[in-house]
């Protein structure tokens, strides 16, 4: 490939100036004339029948413009399975479910009105424990008849198989994969090790609370601004729910203040639309931080049973996993996670005998959602903790044991898909070297502190089939405009996509303008999730650029009497290949004054990417096995912790991560993504846990739910976020692939390993709080 001018360079982020000057607009920064404020009355009971709802007092309060209940619901429902009523109808199924909506002239009045709504509830038995709820013939059934509900078309191909509904009515989905003969595998193993890992619920804690604003339009449609990661799908959802023609719902996702999987299917959108429909005025719904904790689609609680068999020589020989996933009262996106989670056990290590069962189980807890890693955090913690224990059991070094079992380029993984552009070994080597693996730390103890080291490796993909569209419009002055449906959630997609387009047109990044996440003008994109945007939307934008160039060259070739394939474009000038003097200016092919060309009108290139080219048989084989054909990313983490044996406190002293990403499009932005995982990983490992008692979220704030501040993460010279050499992915844009979700998945097992190294206790569950460490130290002392 020729030397690249922009791709592969750490160009400054294109959203920089806006974001440092306070001019970047997030949904809540918009306000409209005559706008009302919407608030939600939420259920205090985990499971109850709704009796009479008296809204008369609330409606009379001056300033209140509408009070709505489930009776006012539009026809459709929300969820991957369309199971969540917009507002509860006959029953509430979790504490925090919407029971009534208010729109008022001010937030204060709206909040006051909530207190005046009188709801009669008849409490019903509730169930919170997923393992209890999945038992056959459970007395409490969260949603009878759930198996009969339709799922949304976009996910129809995702191999969503429903469990037998009669016997286990709370099991919303079961997912199974197997390879080899698992029983034989265990029989042939020299060491077999079995453990149970328990993970509690955590929140994404994006700094921006969820927000949606809906404006009714004169044609009966709506414009909806929302902190929504998936505007394209939101448009389809909302049009179905409100029985409107698709173009009558325009969804605009402005800058999003962090998402991490938590801003998909934002409920605020249909609530704001219901209120806007009733009042005829724009309505904004902003979640309080408490509402984000309660109904912000937090990460799932999971119980993982894992049994591994290993040969004395270090070969992983058999692994069986059973995961019980607490999906909460409605399906949310967790049905997909039931399949997604398997990637943490299938794409990194070679295992001849494998067995997987996962169950998505309904309970009367709040609705769970997707979270950076989509099951990877939990599963990789379990797998990598096992790897440590297995290595110890056979007397092997934990780093060498991992390394020898890693898939190599070209090997077919347990999902039946090829390992490609893999640099897992190099990642592992780099972090091991940086931390000084195999050498003793300078200090092993200081006062009550004990020092230890841990290591992990991880592999992941994403459970979303690539599908995105983009348009590129070329202006006569040489600037171009890319229109895509990805959303800038902070990951830097607008910069990466600008770089790809700038490279194609050989122009500076500053000559690329983006229009993103506005369904009136931007084409469909399957979501900005699942490590997807660089790979998926990047490919699409590149193809759209190439299509636009093809159009330009065809017009220019006719004018110049040369072949179109002999033309090149550089910074607004058209060259005949090999010539140093430009043959035409780009503007020359336009009607004088700009606008468009005489023959083709506007130059707009279209791009579509739907994954790699596969034969029909190959595609069917892969889809049957897993449902999605995608790329995989691999990485490694090594770190050092100090454990206070008197207080149980654990501090991460140093941390290194390295992740493969094909060709890095913007190395410094990639490093920043790796740094990003550190904060998440440390928080998840040591502090974060939503505490739910009888269905009630008891710590919905940043005082009682701790996320890391600058004082709790290693910084400066104590951090190394490394990129491997960069083996190009053959199907990625300029060889790039995604990796952002992996960066928070390998930290907790490395911390657990380091804790073991420091004080000899093995913590299986997360988070590893001071209390739990101290308890384990005391238990051992007894």
């Amino acid at each position: 490939m020729d030397e690249l001018s922009t791709v592969g360079k750490s160009v400054p982020r294109v959203d920089g100036t806006e974001k440092v000057t306070g001019t970047a607009k997030f949904t809540n920064d918009f306000a409209l004339p005559r706008m009302l404020y919407g608030k939600v009355l939420r259920s205090p009971y985990p499971h109850a029948r709704i009796g009479r709802i008296d809204v008369s007092q609330a409606s009379k309060l001056p300033g209140v413009k509408a009070v709505l209940t489930g009776k006012d619901n539009p026809e459709g429902r929300m969820g991957v399975v369309l199971d969540r009523p917009i507002v509860a109808e006959d029953e509430v199924r979790f504490v925090g479910e919407a029971v009534a909506l208010v729109a008022a002239e001010s937030l204060e009045v709206a909040e006051e009105a909530l207190d005046l709504i009188d709801v009669e509830y008849e409490e019903l038995p509730a169930i919170f424990d997923a393992e209890e709820a999945m038992k056959p013939h459970s007395e409490v059934v969260v949603q009878p008849g759930h198996h009969l509900l339709p799922s949304i078309p976009a996910y129809a191909g995702h191999n969503i198989s429903f469990a037998t509904a009669e016997e286990t009515p709370n099991v919303y989905r079961a997912f199974h994969i197997e390879e080899g003969d698992i029983e034989q595998g265990f029989r042939e193993s020299d060491v077999v090790l079995e453990n149970r890992f328990v993970f509690t619920r955590t929140q994404h804690c994006a700094m921006e609370p969820h927000c949606a604003m809906a404006r009714p339009e004169p044609d009966g449609g709506f414009t909806v601004w929302a902190s929504e990661q998936h505007p394209s799908e939101a448009q389809l959802f909302l049009s179905r729910i409100f029985k409107l023609p698709v173009p009558k719902v325009r969804v605009i996702a402005p800058y999003i203040g962090g998402a991490f999987g938590g801003k998909l299917f934002v409920m605020g959108m249909p609530w704001a639309m219901m209120l806007a429909r009733r009042t005829g005025r724009p309505v904004k719904v902003v979640y309080s931080r408490e509402e984000v904790f309660v109904d912000g689609y937090s990460d799932v609680p999971v119980v993982i049973y894992i049994k591994d068999g290993v040969k004395k020589d270090g070969r992983l020989w058999a692994r069986s996993v059973k995961a019980v996933i607490n999906c909460g009262a409605y399906s949310g996106r967790v049905l997909l996670l039931t399949g997604s989670m398997v990637m943490g056990a299938t794409v990194n290590y070679r295992i001849p005998h494998f067995w997987w069962d996962s169950y998505c189980v309904a309970t009367n807890e709040p609705v769970s959602g997707s979270f950076r890693g989509f099951g990877g955090v939990q599963l990789i913690h379990a797998v990598e903790s096992q790897m440590d224990m297995l290595a110890r059991a056979i007397g092997m070094d934990a780093y060498k044991f991992r390394r020898m079992n890693l898939y190599k380029e070209g090997e077919i993984n347990l999902l039946g898909q090829p390992t490609h552009a893999v640099e897992a070994e190099e990642c592992l080597d780099k972090v091991a070297e940086w931390i000084g693996w195999g050498k003793k730390p300078e200090k092993r103890e200081e006062g009550p502190w004990r020092i230890g080291r841990g290591i992990s490796a991880q592999g992941k993909g994403g459970l979303v089939s690539p599908y995105s569209l983009a348009d590129v419009k070329v202006h006569f002055d040489g600037t171009i405009e890319i229109r895509h449906g990805a959303t800038e959630v902070g990951q830097g997609c607008n910069t990466i996509l600008s770089q790809i387009a700038a490279e194609e047109f050989q122009i500076p990044v500053g000559k690329v303008r983006q229009i993103s996440g506005d369904t009136a003008v931007t084409p469909y994109d399957i979501t900005s999730t699942a490590n997807l945007t660089t790979f998926n939307t990047g490919n699409t934008v590149r193809r759209a650029c190439q299509d636009a160039k093809r159009q330009i060259f065809e017009i220019a070739a006719e004018r110049l009497k040369v072949k179109a394939e002999d033309l090149e474009l550089k910074d607004g000038l058209i060259y005949t290949r090999g010539k140093t003097e430009a043959a035409l200016k780009l503007g020359d092919i336009f009607v004088p004054g700009g606008g468009g060309t005489a023959k083709r009108g506007e130059i707009i290139g279209h791009g579509v990417y739907m994954g790699r080219d596969l034969s029909k048989e190959e595609r069917e084989r892969i889809l049957k096995k897993f449902g999605v054909d995608y790329m995989f990313c691999h990485g490694a983490c090594a770190l050092e912790v100090a454990v206070n044996t008197e207080t149980g406190e654990v501090k991460v002293l140093r941390i290194a991560q390295c992740h493969d990403m094909g060709t890095p499009i913007n190395p410094q932005a990639c490093e920043a993504q790796i740094d990003s995982g550190n904060g998440f990983g440390v928080g998840r490992a040591l502090y974060e846990e939503i505490v739910i008692e009888n269905g009630v979220t008891v710590n919905p704030n940043f005082v009682d739910y701790k996320i890391p501040s600058m004082l709790e993460v290693p910084l400066g010279a104590e951090v190394s976020s490394m990129l491997p050499a960069g083996v190009p992915h053959e199907d990625g844009p300029y060889g790039g692939k995604g990796f952002g979700e992996s960066t928070n998945c390998g930290i907790s097992p490395a911390i657990a390993g380091a804790l073991y190294d420091a004080v000899g206790i093995r913590m299986l569950d997360l988070p590893i709080t001071r209390e739990r460490v101290l308890g384990a130290l005391k238990a051992r002392a007894r």
């Binding site: 700094m207 921006e208 996320i707 976020s721």
Partner: protein, 156 residues
């Protein structure tokens, strides 16, 4: 009942009429339409609403608007002067010290207050000065780099 409130924001004098229970954050965002200052928790826990009041970093969700009467306030919109970015803003861009950008205004204002008091802080000074500002995207690595870089430059 609304009451008059006079204060100075980003070098401009304002007189607005506000309900006395409104917070400074609400007045900045809703009355002055300075939406650069963000609302992340409304409980003084996250730091996204940080502004500078008479030289000190203040969480504007915890200050009632009347408490700001007669005082000098600076928000993120006031950082750049004459179309030129403040060194901290430039450092945040150069070091990739923001991602989603939602904590950035508060982070910048806390950093500005820190540098005004301590122009050449150490890493520990920065951590001490910024631990009240949460960021969920960056792991803080590049934020620390950016603030130290801005602090390393000669002042004036």
């Amino acid at each position: 009942m609304k009451m008059p409130l006079q204060f100075r924001v980003n070098g401009e004098d304002y007189e607005v009429y506000v309900e006395p229970w409104k917070t400074l954050l609400e007045v900045l965002r809703d009355e002055l339409e300075l939406t650069g200052t963000k609302a992340g928790c409304l409980a003084g826990e996250c730091g996204t609403c940080t502004v500078i009041v008479d030289g000190k970093a203040v969480k504007s969700c915890l200050m009632l608007a009347p408490q700001a009467a007669g005082r000098e306030i600076m928000t993120v919109e006031g950082l750049a002067q004459g179309g030129k970015l403040h060194p901290l803003q430039q450092a945040f861009i150069d070091h990739f010290a923001f991602q989603c950008g939602f904590c950035t205004p508060g982070m910048l204002m806390s950093s500005k207050a820190l540098l005004d008091e301590n122009p050449h802080p150490t890493a520990d000074d920065v951590k001490e000065g910024l631990y009240g500002n949460f960021c969920r995207c960056t792991g803080y690595v590049k934020i620390l780099e950016a603030v130290l870089a801005a602090g390393a430059k000669p002042r004036g």
